[in-house]
């Protein structure tokens, strides 16, 4: 029983990270109907920038503090937001009227570019990451919860609440939702489409950066290809919850993290990645609009 609960806790903390990445996917898909394959690599960039900021340009990693961690995270968020905006501007905006397949291929191209360019620029070797101060794990009834896990869950919750507020209680959020429903009409209503889309990308990239830092704190091995798998899995999480749906992304992330931990615990871990794809295939066959999503019929 203890084992089961331990796995639950591990699943929740892993799921929280997936949720953060999934949020970025889901928002971009909502406004652009594009699977931004490069999102996982922006996540990697967040971790990588965090490493540089904490180990090379400052000495945060050698003398960690909460304030230092926040500073590093903010820096990383800034860089990632910029990169996200650049990607949107240079690679996706020109393709807005084109068939979706073209944008998809471009997205894959950007992802590869970031990964292999990163290998070239940063070198493929892994870095040890650490920006949070050392605190011992808490133990509750025989189950250990790491300090990083607590921080992760807390941060994710806070960010999700903030995101909900933005999307549902601000003007720009309303504009985002309008664009996701019908871009041409939104434009007619005076919404600046370009601005909204750029904002969405920036926001998603910010979240990816934070996810990257939290992930690297939990699994402290940072390297240019680290974003591939988490990116794919977060996409699965977004689809599971209903792509375009913010609470859906959170739910999907959580469920995926739990499923992964339970499956690899009770069967074999070789199937860990297969779990994610299995869930994807299942949900697309059974309820393609996702758990919390609403289907959109194509107008004939």
């Amino acid at each position: 029983m203890i084992d089961f609960l331990q796995r639950l806790v591990d699943g929740v903390s892993l799921g929280a990270i997936y949720a953060l990445i999934a949020l970025g996917y889901t928002m971009v898909y909502g406004v652009l109907q594009l699977i931004n394959f490069a999102h996982g690599d922006v996540f990697m960039l967040g971790a990588m920038m965090g490493w540089y900021a904490s180990s090379v340009w400052t000495s945060e990693s050698r003398d960690p503090s909460i304030a230092g961690a926040l500073a590093v995270t903010l820096f990383s968020m800034l860089v990632c937001a910029t990169v996200g905006l650049l990607i949107e501007r240079l690679a996706y905006r020109p393709l807005r009227g084109s068939p979706r397949l073209n944008a998809l291929i471009t997205a894959i191209g950007v992802s590869f570019f970031l990964e292999y360019g990163g290998q070239l620029l940063f070198g493929p070797n892994p870095r040890a990451f650490g920006i949070l101060p050392h605190r011992p794990s808490s133990a509750v009834a025989g189950i250990s919860i790491g300090y990083v896990d607590l921080v992760t869950i807390l941060t994710s919750l806070v960010l999700m609440i903030v995101l909900q507020r933005i999307v549902f209680h601000t003007r720009i959020g309303t504009a985002m939702r309008a664009v996701s429903w019908n871009p041409s009409v939104a434009a007619l209503m005076g919404v600046n489409i370009d601005l909204v889309i750029s904002f969405t990308f920036g926001l998603g990239s910010l979240l990816a950066a934070v996810a990257g830092i939290l992930y690297a704190s939990k699994y402290p091995s940072v390297h240019p290809l680290m974003g591939l798998m988490p990116g794919l899995k977060a996409f699965v999480a977004a689809v599971l919850g209903g792509i375009g749906n913010v609470p859906g992304a959170m739910l999907g992330g959580l469920l995926l993290g739990l499923a992964e931990q339970l499956v690899s615990g009770y069967t074999s871990s070789s199937w860990r990645d297969a779990v994610a794809f299995g869930i994807l295939i299942l949900i697309l066959l059974v309820k393609p609009s996702g758990l919390l999503g609403r289907g959109a019929a194509e107008k004939v």
Partner: protein, 453 residues
């Protein structure tokens, strides 16, 4: 347009055919009597396993430099042509073919990973070009043919080594295994350890697996903890091992970890940190072994490569090259068959990683050392295990030797989730190497694949 595309296709085909260069200085068989001696090297210089290729390459280049400096072989200089296979097996085969058929090399060095060696070996065997693998440990490699050799021991031996150490020295009765199912080296070692440990009276209480590139092992470790072993055998690669160690401690598994030569890297402690202290792994040699042979090598390597400490891959590659050159010196001429015969007769070649003798399967019989990860990431010599039937020979290292490199202090890595990057070499002359190592020099990272040793 039709004409253009047809012409284009013809051009491409012509270029493909023309890809070979004109032979210089003699072909593979027989060879000219003057000019450079061409040796081919295949390694993963880029991609996810870039460290192994570059490390091995450095060992080889050092050996070449030494031999050339001493006058070469039979009065001729050696030229190594190194090709990158990007870590892909089919690329290794292509590179081997190119070296054999286009560059007309007299011998091949490579590869590190057994899978890639297996792709190369048939080409070498068919062309009667001797091939020496520095680090491929799967038995099948040398079974391809009598032109294929290796300078390292094979998986069955290493698994035996750790089983023997665990039962005899550590007096353990119960162990668990966590193997990398994507890595045949890991799978092979795990199986042999399993067989030998049980044969020697122990009991394997749990057998779990992961895939290289995974970052989360809590699920398996929780299972293992539940089985209450006295040690955990993790014959995987260093970055995974680092993360595994940390997470093991996080779930409350405090028993020592045991491993193989895949652990050997400066990065091991950097990622694993304090969680690794008290663990053991088998290796080919110990950098701290005060024997003059080893220290000379370490010194030369550091001098040549800006203070970088050679890892076991570099040492093995250095020995593989050295062994090859030694055979070439002894061979009556530089034809394939002659070099092959000389290689097969290698006896007690004084390598850095031990005295190497080729057995009848063209594998190296030499002892393995067991190292303990002590406080601060220092490695302590903990034992030398001989292959069954071989007498003790060569240098004996004292039970405890301080790490020869200038002091390093791991900043207080308190138990917890956060590792701190340690500086293995000293601050000062070597910090340049550290930052160089971190930014420029490609070093392997098992993002997707691991070295199949």
């Amino acid at each position: 347009m039709r004409c253009m595309s047809a012409k284009f296709l013809v051009c491409m085909l012509a270029l493909a055919v023309d890809c070979k260069k004109e032979p210089e200085g003699g072909g593979n068989v027989g060879g000219a009597d003057t000019g450079v001696i061409k040796i081919g090297e295949v390694g993963s210089m880029t991609g996810t396993e870039a460290t192994f290729g570059t490390s091995s390459d450095r060992g080889i280049q050092l050996a070449v430099k030494e031999v050339n400096g001493a006058g070469g072989i039979k009065g001729r200089q050696i030229q190594v042509i190194a090709l990158d296979d990007e870590g892909k097996p089919e690329e290794a085969a292509t590179a081997a073919t190119r070296l054999i058929a286009s560059e007309h090399v007299l011998a091949l060095l490579g590869e590190v990973a057994s899978t890639r060696s297996l792709f190369m070996a048939p080409k070498a065997q068919a062309a009667k070009v001797p091939m020496v693998s520095p680090s491929s440990t799967n038995e099948k490699v040398t079974a391809v043919g009598d032109y294929i050799f290796r300078a390292c021991f094979i998986d069955p031996f290493q698994g035996y080594v750790m089983a023997k150490f665990a039962t005899e020295t550590l007096k353990l009765k119960k162990a668990a295994i966590l193997r990398d199912v994507r890595n045949d080296y890991s799978v092979g070692l795990a199986k042999v350890f399993n067989d030998n440990f049980t044969k020697m009276g122990g009991q394997i209480v749990d057998n779990e697996s992961y895939s290289s590139g995974d970052v989360d092992f809590k699920a398996q470790l929780t299972n293992i903890k539940g089985a209450a072993p006295q040690a955990l055998y993790v014959p995987g690669y260093y970055t995974d091992v680092g993360l595994i160690a940390r997470q093991a401690r996080e779930v409350g598994l405090t028993v020592p970890l045991l491993g193989g030569d895949g652990w050997d890297s400066e990065k091991l402690y950097e990622i694993g940190g304090v969680a690794l202290e008290g663990s053991y792994f088998s290796n080919h040699y110990s950098v701290d072994d005060p024997s003059p042979r080893i220290q000379e090598f370490v010194g030369k390597f550091k001098k040549e490569y800006g203070g970088q400490v050679p890892d076991s891959l570099a040492a093995q590659a250095y020995d593989a090259a050295g062994m090859l050159f030694d055979a070439m010196k002894r061979a009556k001429d530089l034809s394939g068959p002659s070099i092959r015969d000389a290689l097969a007769q290698t006896k007690d070649y004084k390598g850095v990683t031990g005295d190497i003798t080729m057995d009848d399967k063209r594998n190296a019989t030499k002892p393995a050392v067991v190292l303990k990860v002590a406080k601060g990431g220092k490695y302590e010599f903990s034992g030398r295990i001989m292959p069954e039937g071989l007498k003790q020979s060569g240098t004996e290292a004292p039970a405890e030797s301080p790490k020869k490199t200038e002091g390093n202090t791991a900043p207080n890595a308190a138990p917890g989730n956060v590792p701190t990057p340690t500086q293995t070499p000293a601050v000062g002359a070597t910090s340049a190497a550290q930052s160089a190592a971190n930014t420029g020099q490609p070093q392997g990272v098992p993002a997707g694949e691991h070295p199949k040793k």
